[in-house]
């Protein structure tokens, strides 16, 4: 069972308390964007076998959206952070690099 800490209310939740929301830090394209941008935003996914940044909602708790950094093979959780950001915070990046030194963050990679 996956366990994540909600960065808002501080509750340690198991996954039944949470709703998964898919890949984080997608570039959102709006009206006027071309088909390729919409395809990328709506459907194309990194789907990494490794470090994954993703969205979660504390559905049966404070109700807020947050982000988590997790490894999709080992299930190691590197940390959670508030959703009002365009990139993962430095301490989480450091923890990710400790396990995967080559990892880099690119907002659309």
């Amino acid at each position: 069972m996956l366990i994540l800490d909600c960065p808002y209310c501080g509750v340690r939740c198991d996954e039944t308390e949470l709703t998964p929301g898919g890949e984080a830090h997608l570039t959102r394209h709006g009206p006027g964007s071309d088909d390729a941008d919409f395809e990328r935003y709506l459907f194309q996914r990194r789907n990494p076998r490794g470090v994954h940044l993703e969205r979660w909602r504390h559905a049966y708790g404070c109700g807020k959206w947050f982000h988590a950094a997790r490894h999709t093979v080992t299930m190691q959780v590197f940390g959670t952070y508030p959703a009002q950001t365009t990139e993962p915070p430095a301490d989480i990046v450091e923890r990710i690099r400790a396990s995967d030194p080559d990892w880099t963050f690119g907002d659309d990679t």
């Binding site: 069972m1 996956l2 996954e15 039944t16 459907f43 194309q44 076998r49 299930m75």
Partner: protein
């Protein structure tokens, strides 16, 4: 290849079974092939088989990182049906179902196709309306299905509790010629036939890179050396995103675990397959007597081949309500596979942005039933550049908004 037959069994019995030969040759990779297929699951092997049978292309290798059939092909609950809603799906899945009818004879390999009937329960008014619509669509597509009422459901499957309390059975979509087959045998039978045509099936060989000359694919790097090819077919289910990344494009696919479990064997009590999609559970009884049970996928990406325990609880809880007699059963085994989910829950059989590189993926939770037809159609696409069965399944449909939306038709799509 020595044919299997009743006579062969008698002959071998008389000489202490010394004359059986390996079903397929274990091959080391050559430096070049006309066509290389990545992934020796059912779909990859079926593709190779039909490339040879229908198109005369036999300079083919199927490259597998683990053992043959060890991916989702050997992990699924073997439900075969073709009662889909949308016309392109119905055409492809019915082609496949009909190929299952003769597969054992075609391959000279007993795949134990058992058209015992599949019943999809309607347990809400909404679901009932949905299945009535599917039954009408199937009638127009020439696929024999029927919506049946609760009394007939009880007659076909007496162990079911149809009165609720939470989700009473309001009827069901019944496909009489749907059923199950032995998953390993499908992979083994195709492998044997491919090997017999002179194809190489290379196990324990992981593809680690795709080489290109500009926009055109030229070959692969693997853990057992480089391999050149004219055409490349990527058929790796949950690992499609990885291979696409190696080739240099991105897919509308996410990989999530899906689990199944089996009970201790019990006496025959259920001779059909039942799917209950509202409550997320389905069940059939294997020839050994085990109740074979499956449910929904995890909600988040993972490559763990394990899955989250909450889904086992959810599935079993739902089934116990509809099948009270299973409440005391002990479960023997549980396992997971990594399924490749697309945005519209339909597969991708497609050219790719890389020339001569084709992809067959996105079968998600329900591709075992499609194994022979998928191979048939994908082989045609790879050999000739187009197939009427794959035309609607191109990956460009996500850009163009031409979805083949089956997720409405069945929440769980096995």
């Amino acid at each position: 290849m020595r044919r299997y037959s009743a006579f062969a069994i008698a002959r071998e019995a008389l000489r202490h079974h010394t004359g059986w030969e390996r079903a397929w040759k274990s091959a080391a990779p050559k430096s070049r092939y006309d066509v290389v297929i990545v992934g020796a699951g059912g779909h990859g092997l079926a593709t190779a088989y039909w490339l040879g049978r229908n198109h005369g292309i036999t300079n083919v290798a199927v490259i597998e990182k683990g053992w043959l059939g060890g991916g989702n092909t050997g992990r699924n609950t073997t439900i075969i049906r073709s009662n889909y809603l949308q016309d392109p799906s119905a055409a492809l899945y019915e082609k496949s179902r009909s190929l299952y009818e003769t597969m054992s004879q075609d391959l000279n390999y007993n795949v134990m196709f058992s058209p015992r009937g599949v019943l999809m329960l309607a347990q809400t008014e909404h679901e009932k309306r949905g299945y009535l619509r599917t039954a009408h669509a199937n009638a127009l597509q020439g696929i024999t299905t029927r919506f049946i009422g609760p009394a007939e459901v009880k007659k076909i499957c007496p162990i079911m509790n149809i009165d609720g309390p939470r989700y009473p059975v309001l009827g069901g979509l019944w496909q009489e010629r749907a059923g199950t087959a032995r998953h390993d045998a499908v992979a083994w039978g195709y492998a044997r036939a491919c090997s017999d045509m002179g194809m190489d099936i290379v196990e324990q060989c992981e593809v680690t890179g795709v080489t290109r000359d500009g926009a055109r694919v030229t070959g692969l790097s693997t853990t057992r050396g480089d391999i050149a090819c004219d055409k490349l077919g990527i058929v790796v289910a949950g690992h499609s995103g990885r291979l696409a990344e190696m080739a240099g494009f991105r897919l509308p696919v996410e990989s999530v675990p899906l689990q199944a479990l089996v009970s201790e064997p019990i006496k025959p009590c259920m001779d059909i397959v039942v799917m209950a999609n509202t409550v997320h559970g389905y069940m059939s009884q294997s020839d050994k007597g085990e109740m074979v049970i499956g449910g929904g996928t995890d909600g988040y990406n993972a490559y763990t081949q394990r899955g989250s325990f909450q889904h086992i609880e959810e599935t079993v809880r739902a089934l116990v309500e509809t099948f009270p007699m299973i409440s005391r059963l002990k479960m023997l085994r549980q396992w997971g596979g990594i399924v490749d989910m697309t945005g519209d829950r339909s597969p991708i059989l497609s050219r790719t942005p890389v020339e001569n590189c084709f992809i067959n993926c996105g079968w998600g939770t329900g591709g075992f039933k499609a194994t022979p037809g998928s191979g048939w159609a994908f082989a045609e696409l790879m050999a000739t550049g187009a197939s009427p069965l794959t035309a609607a399944f191109g990956m460009e449909r996500f850009r163009e908004g031409r979805f083949i939306d089956e997720s409405v038709a069945a929440g769980v799509a096995h």
